[in-house]
Symmetry: C2
Subunit: 261 residues, 2 copies
Amino acid sequence: MMSEARKFGLRRFLRRLLDRSTLSAEEQHAILSLPGQVRSVRSRQDLVMPGERVEHAVLVVDGLCGRFDQMRDGSQQINAIYIAGDMCDIHSVASPRAGWGITTIASGTILLVPHEDINRLAVRYNNIALALWRDTTLDASILAKWVANAGRKDARSRLAHLFCEVGVRMERAGLDKRTHFRLDVTQARLSDVLGLTPVHVNRTLQSLRAEQVLSMDKHVVDIADWDALACIAEFDPAYLLLDGPLFRWKAGEDTEVALAS
Amino acid sequence: MMSEARKFGLRRFLRRLLDRSTLSAEEQHAILSLPGQVRSVRSRQDLVMPGERVEHAVLVVDGLCGRFDQMRDGSQQINAIYIAGDMCDIHSVASPRAGWGITTIASGTILLVPHEDINRLAVRYNNIALALWRDTTLDASILAKWVANAGRKDARSRLAHLFCEVGVRMERAGLDKRTHFRLDVTQARLSDVLGLTPVHVNRTLQSLRAEQVLSMDKHVVDIADWDALACIAEFDPAYLLLDGPLFRWKAGEDTEVALAS
DNA sequence: CGGATTATTGAGTAATATCAATCAGCGTGG
DNA sequence: CCACGCTGATTGATATTACTCAATAATCCG
């Protein structure tokens, strides 16, 4: 049932927020009570076009979404991958018009949550505002890492890094194991993520397979040697901000700021 | 005098916030009253090391700073450039430990603003919280564009895009003209920004100079043909979110959300 | 089964990196 | 004032990575 999907998606979203922020029972309840429109989506469906002004945020209930930028020659660059529980364009709540677009990478289910309702929560509960800000921070942190990877690493290392990142995020979200997960992408799509050619992605995958580091068959990634992969990738998960929930803001006029352990 | 530098920096910071957010007189005054420690910095001075936990945010009063990531082989990738008025690591207020580092690119003056005080303002004035979140959004938007540039554009186009971006940002900040500005970077530093080799940056600059599009002499960029440069860069400033101040949150328990025109 | 993607392979090419000099500016100590 | 040593800019020659084009094989899906 549709309403079930909504609850399910919001629970995943809440879980994700709780990874980095502490929310009271009331705040948690408020998140879970967010309204939203459930929608089934196929692969390669553009949800937000670049430059469009939006009035709702896209929460991935199930499947995969990506944020993309388009070049004049038609080529795409995907600059963020979102898995179940991620809210793709949380930013849009603060800045409703952005330069990017949102597309589905794999079929699945999404929940469209009106900005209006998210704003209402952020106003009433400033720790929700903080949690959302923190989520944007994570997004920026991942982007910063992607810039570094694109700028300074070769194809092997970039590919390896992507698998490490997605593995860890999947595992953290309770979706799969970091060494074995379903990643419903075609090699062409992978090339849009990594800024490579489909041909080159194919060859790079083969080289990793030949070295028994990882295999990708039928869109299932199987990492045989995590340490080797992390080494190739120079993967350091610090940028995923997984140290556990951080401090809260004290409510009201209190001028003291609570800092967690 | 040092205190003058503090005021000066905060005014620039406020001005920057007002480009995208509306703040009341009281809120503006609160920003300008932020405390902070002024510090003169030389070029190539690391202010925050990767992975370090910080307790203050860095505001660029004058000069240039950059956020960087470091590879195992020692090479650096600069994934963000900050000009006067920018607060480099606003994110750190929400997430005090990040994976990146902050370094100076050119000599100048910075202001270290304690997180504690920023948090205090964000708690008391939720529109300041919104403005800061929005600022993080802008940062993410720029990063997303850089990912796209690094992934899908060649050296010429990337270099051109950087100059367009910095020009527009400088002009917007009231520091210079977009077609003529001082950018105190060496070619080697530029290469760290663009993910290229110093040698290649040099040759690419020469090619742009040969075509009378732009020249860079003594660290002063002179753009002879802005349109040509923007065309080479495929520059569309939408991602800089310059449409003017956006909506405010209504204060207090009000459940209605104010949306600007 | 047949038409569509998607994956794979090969050969040749273009972009960028690498290595190694040389050159130019510039501050400093003699 | 000038020689020295430094950093940054420039150049040339070569190596390497990744792209392009084009074809074929495998898989998916109705």
